[in-house]
Amino acid sequence: MSAIATVDCDVLVVGAGPAGLAAAGAAARAGAGVVVLDDNAGPGGQIWRGAGAGVAAPDARAAAPWLDALEHPRVQPLAGARLFAQPAPGLALAETPAGPLAVRHVRAVLCPGARELFLPFPGWTLPGVAGAGGLSALVKSGTPVAGQRVVVAGSGPLLFAVARELKRHGARVLLIAEQAPRGRVARFAAGLWRWPAKLADALAHRAALAGVPYRTGSWPVEALGGEALAAVRVSDGRRVREIPCDRLACGFGLVPNAEPARLFGCAIAAGGAVATGARQETSVPGVFAAGEAAGIAGLEAALAEGAIAGLAAAGAGEIPAGPRRARERARAFGAAIARAFALRDDLRALARPETVVCRCEDVTRGALADQPGWRAAKLHTRCGMGPCQGRVCGPAAEFLFGWGAESVRPPAFPVRLESLAAAGEVPPGGTEGP
């Protein structure tokens, strides 16, 4: 048995998005040796995807000082590294392009971000239908959209950023359909003065998207096409319009990626985010969480929480007031978003009995209708048993049926058998436990 590649560090940071970058920088500056794992090819997370690759992204300037954390001599960034197991406290296993890797650490900061909430509607499995953040991520990684007609739909301020990104890459954005009603969105916009940075973002989006219709109280009810998308039908509750298009970018908000924290045994708060305290500590000693995984509140919250978690994980005694105040302000913004963009009940009725809910195993809504709960659905219909491990259909089923998720077991992501086989063969660690 060959011992697997092993690195040792004081602080393991999972995720190289804003929270992870802030955590890594803060911990390193406080004297800790840091390893940063991220499953993407480059750092930046979703919002700053590609910002470190020399691509002329508008966010590159904002991202640059935070990306500098990865240049710190005490920080070792590992791209393309996917956390999949925690065989023992202080030991994390990742799959990397070079094979499995063991990271022995004293403390961990979990910053795995969020994913989009996808809700099933007829035609949502057609090629050409992607998430809103999903299409944005694809485009940032080079997927061509120039000259294509795109409808952006779903919910939340993310839709503006996505539309803007698509437009910047030459797409023709035909419509932004926001499911939240006009009144709530208007109240949210009117309150934006409390977060000047967000207000500036909103104004910049509005300028960049001049001429793109934004309709509140509108949502997609069906995607049409044969082997690929041809049109989308959008409803405002009274009438349905059919819009020919090449792509539909549709996401209904964000879901915390709580799986790494569940893998580490951390408690989960109501709403699905990782439960954290004042120092971003989780219920497990030595394990911290920051960013969207610890509650959907946006970029500023992620940066503040990451800095606090990084300091705490490095053993700093006092947490400076600056990041604490920034965190409170940003969390209030997150709460305002949650109120303004709460999902309407109409969305529960979009999926027909024959509409697929679980895309990995092609389980339809009709097949799930009789099931008493998530575990029964898994056992009897294979829902959630495919390679996404329920990450897409789980939150959808929770929205549709009120089912709760189960515990997370290794492998937390699909990995090669050789990686899983290596998980029990790590040489004894020289570091202290958390």
Binding site: A85, A88, L379, M385, R409, P410, V415, R416, L417, G424
Partner: protein, 375 residues
């Protein structure tokens, strides 16, 4: 419970064994009530491989497995599609000449007792399963061994039992067995002429002192790789490890599912109650599988999980009365053969309830043989 007459039989536990007992009893005209604490078929029934295998390590095991295999085969056409009943056959893999000699003896024994089996030499083995590593000696192919998805068989059995008049209570935990009655955790009490205990590895919780121990196992399922292997592949050394008395063992055991996925096993561990993945043992188990199927290394594992087999000291199940407990019939202790032998077990239980003769000797399975032995 007032108003309706007491059932003739209360079946405690709706795994594959309890569900088969309820189904068999109800169809035989017995008034049956089933009590299941959790999700029917959600325990060891869902955790295992679903291998219907005619094992021949000893005579009682062979008889019960063969009878049960015949019952499965007879039912196969009626099972729902979700039961995924297929017959890939079991290919016992011989690593060396000594194992091939053992395979030859087993082939002859199977053949003499009406089980289709054939011996493969090294070349035939490689043709049958090209992904197996080079240098293996041969194999024993038991053609009719089957594979099933038990979690979808259990609801079908319970539906059948209901149609024959049975009552099924899922989510009702039995807290105690009190003579010819059970007391539920919610305070209710039910009486019956017979209490059939089919709670697998958890049976000692209701009947303290039962010689049943939990033997933990691990399994891994992969993404879809149709055609990667074609038969249920088991190393011939499996029987040694499966029936070994050591506290821990692994064996190469890979099953192709009709979906194209592969189930990868197996491990056995006594004296562990924690259901968490044991990475050290999981690694040993996977390394063993990779020794036989090197191409598995880069295939993707989707999930790993554990389950608890109900192990007895002599490897035979406990089917029948337990001394000192009037009206109690045990249907547990099936170890790794619960799926295979569920229907044979149900048949024996029904025979006992109805006072019928049985098609095979009951004595090897009667719990009384172990009365007084330490669990």
């Amino acid at each position: 419970m007032s108003g309706s007459p007491s059932p003739d039989a209360l079946v405690v536990g709706a795994g594959i064994v309890g569900a088969a007992c309820a189904w068999e009893l109800a169809r035989a005209g017995v008034r049956v009530s089933v009590l299941e604490a959790g999700l029917p078929g959600g325990g060891a029934t869902a955790a295992g491989m679903g291998h219907v295998v005619v094992l021949d390590d000893n005579e009682p095991e062979f008889r019960l497995a063969k009878l049960s295999h015949e019952l499965w085969s007879a039912l196969a056409p009626e099972l729902p599609a979700g039961a995924e009943f297929t017959r890939p056959g079991t290919l016992w893999v011989a690593a060396d000449g000594e194992e091939l000699d053992a395979a030859a003896r087993r082939a002859a024994a199977y053949d003499s007792r009406g089980v289709a089996a054939e011996l493969l030499d090294a070349r035939q083995l490689a043709e049958a399963e090209p992904e197996l590593r080079d240098g293996l000696a041969g194999g024993l192919l038991v053609r009719d061994d089957a594979v099933v998805y038990p979690p979808c068989v259990v609801p079908w059995l319970l539906d059948g039992a209901r149609r024959a008049g049975a009552q099924v209570d899922a989510g009702r935990r039995v807290a105690a067995i009190e003579g010819r009655a059970v007391r539920c955790a919610d305070g209710g009490r039910r009486e019956a002429a017979w209490v059939v205990l089919a709670t697998g590895a958890w049976a000692p919780e209701l009947v303290p002192g039962l010689p049943v121990r939990r033997r933990k196992g691990h399994l891994v399922v992969t993404d879809r790789y149709p055609g990667f292997v074609r038969h249920q592949l088991v190393e011939l050394g499996y029987l040694k490890s499966a029936h070994g008395t050591g506290s821990e063992s692994v064996a190469f055991n890979v099953q192709p599912r009709p979906s194209g996925q592969l189930l990868v096993g197996s491990s056995r561990q006594l004296g562990v109650d924690d259901d968490a993945i044991d990475h050290r043992l999981l690694s040993r188990m996977l390394r063993r599988a990779l020794e036989y199927l090197p191409g598995l290394a880069r295939r993707h594992a989707l999930r790993a999980w554990t389950g608890f087999r109900a192990a007895t000291p002599d490897g035979q199940p406990l089917i029948g009365p337990w001394p000192g407990h009037d009206g109690l019939l045990l249907a547990t202790g099936h170890e790794g053969l619960g799926i295979t032998t569920a229907f044979g077990t149900a048949w024996l239980v029904a025979d006992m309830v109805l006072g019928r003769p049985s098609p095979l000797p009951r004595e090897p399975y009667l719990p009384a043989r172990l009365a007084g032995s330490a669990p």
